[in-house]
Structure formats: C-alpha cells, structure tokens
Symmetry: C2
C-alpha cells in the first residue's frame, strides 16, 4: 500500500558526508525532499487506511468527491463527462473508465449518453452515493484534524506557504519536456 520509501531517513551528517562524494548533493535540499516524501506518504497511508475500511479506494473516492463538489458548488446537476473527471483527477481516461465501471457496479454513479453529442457520457451521483459520503466524510475530516493536531494554527499557515512554493515550482518542472542532466546515455 505505501510507496516504497526507506524506513529510517538518513541523518544530516550522513548527507554532508555523501555530498563530498557527490558534489551535486545539496544536503538541506535532500533532507527537505526526503522529509516531504515521507510525510506525504504517511498522510496518504493514513487516509487510504480509513478509506479501505469503508471498502472504497482512493481513486473511486476522488471521483465521488469531485462529482459531489460539482453538484454542490455550481448548483449544477453534478453530471460530468469521463474526460472531465480524468482531467481533474489527474488519471488517464482509460483509468477513469475502470473507476466509473466499479462505481456504477456498486450503484454509486449512473452513466447516460449525452443527448446532443452521442460520443459523450454523463456521469451522475446516485442518492446512495450521497448517503455514503455523508456517513464517510466526518471520519475522513477527523483523520485530517488528528493528523495535523501537533501543528498550531500559525505553523499550519507556515507549512502551507512553504509547500505552495514547492508545488508551484514542481508544477513547472514536471510540465517541462525534459530536464535531462547527464549528457547522453
């Protein structure tokens, strides 16, 4: 379930030591990177454990949340196409087909063909899904709260600010074509 990630993060002195062999290794950057990876993984595992206890994968949960949000916020019908869902949840359309398949099988969503464009499908939440979320979400939110409990309000704000810088930076890095560093193969 968890991402493979070395159990004991290396001590800072080891990073400094290693930086002598590898001049490209920036100890503070490496330390921050590894801690970020680890904390994110830990948070993910905690969340997924809670979800699997309710017999739902994080993938399917993401789809339900997205549909629910679309339903509540825009006051719309809550209907979205698979392509929209795939785009906003960052999975491929092929994966979304599988997710919607199982959600439909379990009675959480319904599929209908678009009246105007027969290529498109409309995916809608069922009442059963709304009831399911209503029962699941309180525990989900409590989990977030207890995970962030050791941080004060201002610490959380600081954390968000710092993470935002990383997110923005990573977004541009990840979208750039290729930043291959080593020359050739």
């Amino acid at each position: 379930m968890p991402h493979l990630l070395i159990k004991d993060l290396p001590r800072y002195e080891c990073l400094i030591e290693a930086s002598k062999r590898f001049p490209e290794l920036n100890p503070s950057a490496c330390e921050a990177f590894l801690h970020l990876l680890r904390a994110g993984d830990e948070a993910f595992v905690a969340m997924e454990r809670n979800l699997t206890a309710h017999n739902i994968s994080h993938g399917r949960f993401g789809v339900l949340m997205l549909l629910a949000q679309n339903c509540d916020d825009c006051g719309g019908t809550g209907a979205m196409t698979p392509a929209e869902l795939a785009d906003q949840t960052r999975v491929t359309r092929a994966t979304m087909t599988g997710l919607v398949d199982t959600l439909e099988r379990d009675g959480f969503v319904s599929r209908t063909v678009d009246a105007n464009d027969r290529r498109m499908m409309r995916v809608c939440l069922t009442p059963k899904a709304h009831a399911f979320l209503e029962k699941l979400l309180p525990g989900h939110f409590q989990l977030m709260a207890s995970l962030m409990a050791p941080l004060s309000q201002t610490e959380r704000k600081t954390l968000v600010t710092l993470l935002n810088k990383v997110i923005q930076n990573a977004a541009t890095l990840n979208s750039s074509p290729a930043q291959s560093t080593a020359a050739g193969r």
Copy 2:
C-alpha cells in the same frame, strides 16, 4: 503514475463553507493536509520521472540505495537478506521477492544462499549496479536541489521541523489499531 489527487485544491473559503455542514472539518488542518498530499505527490512524480528515464522503478531503486548504503556505511559486504530489505523499505517480503527477481535478471544483484542457515538468502550488489548508481545519482540529487530551489536554507529547516512533527504523529497514528475520536494530545 501519480496518485489520484484532485487537480485544483479547494480555496480556503470553500473549506470554511464546508465546515458549516461538517463540524468535524477543521479548515486549517484540511488545508495543510491537502497541500502536504499534493506536494508529496508532486515530488514523487518528479523523482519517478527521472528514474523511469533510466529504466528503473522507484521500488528497485530503493533496494539498490539500501544495499549501497549498507555497503558504504558499515564497511560491510553489502549483503542483506530479503527480509531485512523488505522491512527497511516498507514493502512485504513477497514484493521484495519480485523486486530482487528483476534486479537479478538485469544483473544488478546476486543471490546466494546463506552458509549457516539454508533458509536465508544473501543479496549483494554487483559492480554493474555500483556503476549504474554512480551514473544515476548526480541527476537524482540535482533533481532534489532544483525542486527545493525556491526555499531558502532557513525555510528548509523550518519545513523539516514542521514535517517531522507530522511524521512522528502519523507514525503513532498509523501503528495504532484504530483511530480514536482524537480529542487529545
């Protein structure tokens, strides 16, 4: 490849709005949690993109790093049993079997049976693996550095401190049998 995670993180006002319907939702905790998940995912994707460019998965990479570390630090032979590897990389022994299988197939590790206990195997890095790491690691470290570039030295320290609090807390939460209603700590 990435964890499914909603593309646009909700605005803070939306969280406050949602907290009216769900009293368990703590807006600042939720915001910090989602940003952590996203930043960790972004970092993970960046790292894995770099690794797959060298035809290695993050799972196999973790095993190689662990073996290399064990070799360098302790001055030992660098030989570890699959059970040790599985324990320290946080995957099951069954998964480790598969990882070592492919690593052995590609000539990166060798398997030998322990002389004293014929139940055990000894997994060792080959010279080919050392050469491979020597070529791969500079780019790997550069990636970390460029990802953390927007943070100053002190900001990185702050980030590590905050993340450490979360990691410690999550470790106890994840190891506990079931999460309580969390009124404490």
